[in-house]
Symmetry: C2
């Protein structure tokens, strides 16, 4: 086992865990944290620490860390800032390998807090690793660790790592990813980064064989030079997506009062992307979409797309949207157009690219033959099937008011929905689905339609086909990953 | 009644309506159209026309238009392209005032289709108005008209008009708007625009006292000069949002095969925005978001925002997002900061702007006093409450596993959710909510959470507070409307 993997084992898979500040009172942070940990199913030994209680949720509780009779690997600290330096000292004395400090009230508050934080940092160098303070800590399904309020986050591990200087985005990222086909190896909310920072985490995720894609929400890297060199090295083998918070003036000011970091400037960060290969994004959604594209389209490279839609306007918007981010929707050859013309209805369609199959609900045989034909073309790197009618809710069937047709409609939709999966299995070429939320109203029929949409989305994800909510989001993610491969290869060949 | 309103009355509120191509067979377009019209509840006289049937859905059916014994105001034509010119002639002879031609197979297909279309246009000038061909036609709740498959679209009229050269975006716009607090006066899918084009529609919506905001998805305006002058005039009193399809090379090509239009170039269209005041957008979502902002924030003008969130990272991203679109999140005065500091928890918060109230689930009293205080500031034009925890699904309550607390949590969320409504009523200053979809998974608890989110969103919309799905979308819409007011006023003062 290499150094970083060993060093981080007590953090990501601790066999024993003290929760300092645990409480029976779940209006308290430490009370909620312990409960969430139990809900999630932490498998190791758990030691609540609180001088005023002897039993919390059936667990024997110790007045101080020193009173725990067995050895302990990891501790979570949730007590007020002023008490934390002393507790970290006690943890070091107890032989605890690492702590996460969830409490706030440190550098982000000014000089007084900064002193407390520096005290902790001085303890850390004497032999205990620290995550935080002012953070949400670690979500590590392999180790049974979760962040608040993540008691019901997925228990399966995945291949995406996410380091976040924002606790809010750590939990939001975990929640949003769960319907997007993304699972995490670890999420680390590391807050003020008084000891473990983005460089340490980057080194770990680089070594970790399970992690394939690395995400970072970063406000101000602690060690700029080290971060730059590391990023450049890591990006050669694993894509790193960086969402830099505080690139604008107002954002930079907010950074200072959030994690007390120095934010840096937009231009410097753009240069960083070219020099290291990293993918820069501007929002949580863009970060997750790009991760999804990286995971599900490992063989996709080129910029030449075809978009298959039902309705001419959708094709027009698709072409505009692709070209705006630097992807092309090249005009098909006359020969290919002629071939496709024999497959689609004779009116209300287009075969020039985008391909308009005439209706958002085409015959399955039409979609199948069109899709196979375009994916077999050398000049097409990827196909997007945009906004076809792949799911059906009962009120839509009811609208037709004809029971024989209803059955046909139900099975026709199911048959249509299977086409992309069958074609992908046969041809193995990159394929993307766009399945928009059709209506946002709370009425039962709209909720049911959304449920049906999500089920179909899950079906595609399970079959290895990425699904995006809008065409704009899909093509931005594709442009991001193409840009990454190009920069990575340019950096590699420049030595 | 002025000329345009009178001229369009037979189109938007026809007292009698022939459906040429109606059929008992609902696999046929004309069959589905008639059924949807009945479902929607068309209140006038309805005359199916089909030489091969005598009764469709209990309605007496006529072989030809000429055979209808009473006078008829409006006709819908769904028969194959080659038959349409003759049918339009028959309609003219019958004294029908206007027709919508849903059939495709005209100019968008090439010279032969173009000839058919020109024949129709020649008939039109002799005294019958034509919408289409190659379109979805008219949705006009006041007249009981709807487009396919819109049998269950809202029956209430609204104040937004939407003219769309794409039928697909007409129906999608109608569907998506229904959960966004937008209702339409009319939606007109006008396809190839062989007679009635965007200029005619713009004139009508300009005169129509019910229409406050005008949306257009436009591929290639038929009369460029007239369109330009009209747009400039209309924008002085009613905002017009234009989504121009086909601004890129690929998009322009797609336009040609969709509605046979000439698409024009991006630069020309950007100039158009400055010269006329119109708001240019790039997607359906951006168009609807901007319409929502215009409708719900009639008094909002300035560029100085405050963002209230729970969690520092969210404030950082908020500031970045605002400044990227030219809105500012100005640093609060020390005096204001001091005042706010007495209201929020002492750690894990920020009062500099964005305001971080420390948690996505703050005490209602904290949110109330912060919101009132910042909205009372002269230097704040609008407040955004971003991603606070305003709705609760039962699984979230269950997670806490404590029934006394559950009741408290349920009522605490309800109390928190009411705060923005109360403050808005008291102060009347512009206020925006951002309520993101938290997870996209199809599991029952996620569906339930989304239902709860939508209900809370509807509650705000009913109280006149606009709701956006993401902060990015909210601030883009705000920047769009501010830009409109500024251009409009500059044009007005330049004469």
């Amino acid at each position: 086992m290499s150094s970083k993997l060993e060093e981080f084992a007590p953090i990501f898979r601790p066999r024993s865990h003290a929760v300092v500040g645990a409480s029976s009172d779940i209006t308290k942070f430490g009370g909620r944290f312990l409960r969430v940990l139990l809900t999630f199913g932490y498998p190791g030994k758990l030691y609540p620490v609180n001088p005023h209680e002897s039993d919390i949720l059936g667990l024997k509780t110790f007045p101080r860390v020193a009173d725990i009779p067995e050895s302990v690997e990891f501790a979570t600290i949730t007590t007020p800032a002023s008490t934390v330096p002393g507790i970290v000292e006690e943890c070091l004395a107890k032989g605890i390998k690492a702590v996460q400090i969830l409490s706030s009230g440190f550098r982000e508050l000014g000089p007084e807090g900064q002193q407390l934080e520096e005290q902790i940092a001085r303890t850390a160098v004497r032999g205990i690793r620290v995550i935080g303070p002012n953070c949400f800590g670690v979500y590590s399904p392999a180790g049974g660790l979760t962040i608040l309020p993540g008691g019901e986050l997925p228990k399966e591990s995945g291949t995406v790592a996410f380091m976040s200087q924002s606790g809010g985005y750590a939990i939001r990222g975990a929640n949003r990813a769960s319907g997007l086909g993304i699972r995490f190896s670890q999420i680390v909310s590391y807050g003020n980064a008084c000891d473990i920072n983005e460089c340490d985490l980057l080194e770990y995720f680089y070594e970790d064989p399970k992690t394939k894609v690395i995400l970072g929400y970063i406000e101000g890297p602690r060690e700029g030079r080290r971060f730059f060199h590391l990023l450049r090295e890591v990006c050669q083998s694993k894509p790193v997506i960086v969402w830099k918070g505080g690139l604008t003036k107002g954002g930079a000011r907010a950074v200072a009062s959030h994690t007390g970091s120095l934010a840096g400037e937009e231009m410097v960060w753009e240069g960083l992307s070219y020099q290291t290969g990293a993918i820069m994004v501007n929002s949580l959604d863009e970060m997750l979409d790009t991760a999804l594209a990286l995971l599900y389209l490992p063989t996709y490279r080129g910029r030449r797309l075809t978009v298959i839609g039902g309705g001419g306007g959708i094709g027009v918007a698709a072409a505009d949207t692709c070209e705006r981010v630097g992807l092309s929707v090249p005009l098909f050859s006359l020969e290919l157009q002629r071939k496709l013309t024999t497959m689609v209805p004779s009116v209300g369609t287009s075969t020039r690219n985008p391909v308009d199959v005439g209706s958002p609900f085409p015959r399955p045989s039409v979609l199948r033959s069109v899709l196979e034909t375009v994916l077999n073309e050398d000049g097409v790197d990827l196909a997007i099937i945009s906004e076809l009618f792949m799911s059906v809710a009962s009120h839509m069937v009811r609208q037709t008011d004809n029971s024989a047709l209803n059955v046909r409609m139900d099975s026709a939709v199911a048959e249509l929905a299977q086409v992309p999966v069958e074609v992908k299995k046969r041809l193995g070429k990159p394929l993307v689905m766009v399945l928009p939320v059709e209506a946002m109203a709370p009425e039962p029929e709209h909720i049911e339609a959304e449920e049906a949409r999500r089920k179909v989305a899950n079906y595609y994800l399970a079959e290895g086909i990425p699904v995006f909510l809008t065409l704009e989001r899909a093509v931005k993610a594709l442009a991001n990953i193409i840009g990454y491969y190009e920069r990575r290869d340019a950096i590699a060949s420049s030595g």
